[in-house]
Symmetry: C2
Subunit: 246 residues, 2 copies
DNA sequence: GCCGGGATATACTCATACTTATTATCCGAC
DNA sequence: GTCGGATAATAAGTATGAGTATATCCCGGC
């Protein structure tokens, strides 16, 4: 049993030159794991097997496994081998894990969960930002808003301004955890949006809603900022979910 | 310069036998980084230097670095070396990073940030749980409550029941992100609490407040559950911050 | 002063040998 | 027949040395 019929192993994707070999291996395995190709509890073939089957050194493979273990996806023990851990132990909010999840076709549940989390975090962040933003941060956000108006979201410069707006708002919260979490989620949402938007026209102009949010933050009106941010996210969610085949 | 006077390097802590050598190295370096012993931008000594100075193999060191890089703490490139990244890029909500942060004496800011995040996440989680909990989950929570009453929080069994209560409540949200985030934060808070509680008596009995939360969840009353959870956290925060030298 | 190309330091990859931890198996005692 | 402890087999863990690739720095030419 288990002769040579496992030649279905695909070669390692070395297309991303910024990743080293171990990074590429980690990425490939990571995607395979989060997309369920290897079920939880599955034990990977031994280091030597994997290495010679893929024509790589044990060193590179082991470093890849260390990366995955650091993100909670696998667990290795002598004699027992390296096995896929239960999904409840995965660090699903790790930027890489999130990226791998949204690399393939993410499940609808994953998208829903992510937006639900966004609706928890970001309105609260907006409220904090309204209370704490400095004058300089306000000026930055104002400038970003002008740029968005000038270029629109169809233009990369406009998209950059949009990101700058939200990024500055997050920084204004002053809470490192909130900043880390929200920026990670935003990045993931961006992949999804990019992916989904291939199939249809641009949604409605989000600029007026941004202005409302900006005004609330400028006024130091926390509840209004919270509400405005919530509205913004709900619109984004609607844009993603509804008009798939319009 | 940089002769032999760097003999101040402490030996690697191998006390935790569940960690392998590479894990111990990662932990030591990780703590040194998050506690600011190595400032951002600092370039670590080369692999060969570090390895022979600490009498370990390059293999073990490199695997440790892969772990740290996976958590965003360092970044290594040929010729440039391995350097500490800017704190804004650290995965501070990674369970290990959080543990390392709270291993030493965490800054007051770190504690404040964490509780602020808790006050965002957990009340929202309670609200979701109130809407979605199954009968089985409700029964589990009720049983945990009885156990808490029977043993009190002074007893390990009572503490376990407390954790079971909160863990079940989280699972009831059904949101993987919320579950991962909240359980990570809870673990970190637990370290802090244990640490701080060495110096003083037990705080007030939290059982009545838990009952209020439970009733709200049982009734499917989201807003009430949110309020009850918020109250619970505020009490915990007060217990930690106020009576330091009573 | 700017640009390009080569020297250099450092991480990256590979190959191999050896060690250690853990589990499974086997055997004997009860 | 079951329990428990010695034993063996297996896979990860660690060590070492050699060679490759690549970013950075520096210098020389334009």
């Amino acid at each position: 049993m288990a002769q040579k019929n496992e030649q279905d192993e695909k070669a390692i994707d070395r297309s991303d030159k910024s990743l080293r070999l171990h990074g590429s291996i980690a990425r490939d395995l990571g995607i395979a794991i989060v997309t369920g190709k290897y079920p939880p509890g599955h034990v990977l073939t031994s280091e030597v097997d994997f290495a010679e089957r893929h024509q790589i050194s044990r060193t590179a493979y082991r470093e890849a496994i260390r990366i995955l273990a650091a993100k909670g996806l696998v667990e290795s023990r002598p004699k027992a081998g390296t096995k896929i851990t239960d999904p409840s132990r995965w660090h699903i909010l790790d930027p890489d894990v999130l990226a791998w999840t949204f690399e393939g076709e993410p499940s609808q549940k994953a998208i829903d969960d992510l937006f639900e989390l966004r609706l928890i975090i970001e309105p609260a962040a907006a409220e904090l930002a309204a209370k704490r933003r400095t004058g300089a941060q306000l000026a930055q956000m104002g400038h970003a808003l002008e740029e968005m108006a000038k270029y629109t979201l169809a233009n990369p410069l406009g998209q950059a301004a949009d990101q700058a707006f939200h990024s500055t708002l997050l920084n204004a919260t002053g809470n490192m955890g909130v900043i880390a979490l929200a920026s990670t989620i935003s990045a993931a949402v961006r992949w999804t949006t990019i992916y989904k938007q291939r199939t249809r026209k641009l949604p409605r102009d989000p600029l007026p809603d941004h202005r409302v949010l900006f005004e609330a933050v400028a006024d130091g009106n926390g509840p209004a900022a919270r509400a405005a941010m919530q509205h913004l996210i709900e619109l984004a969610l609607a844009d993603i979910n509804l008009p798939e085949k319009a």
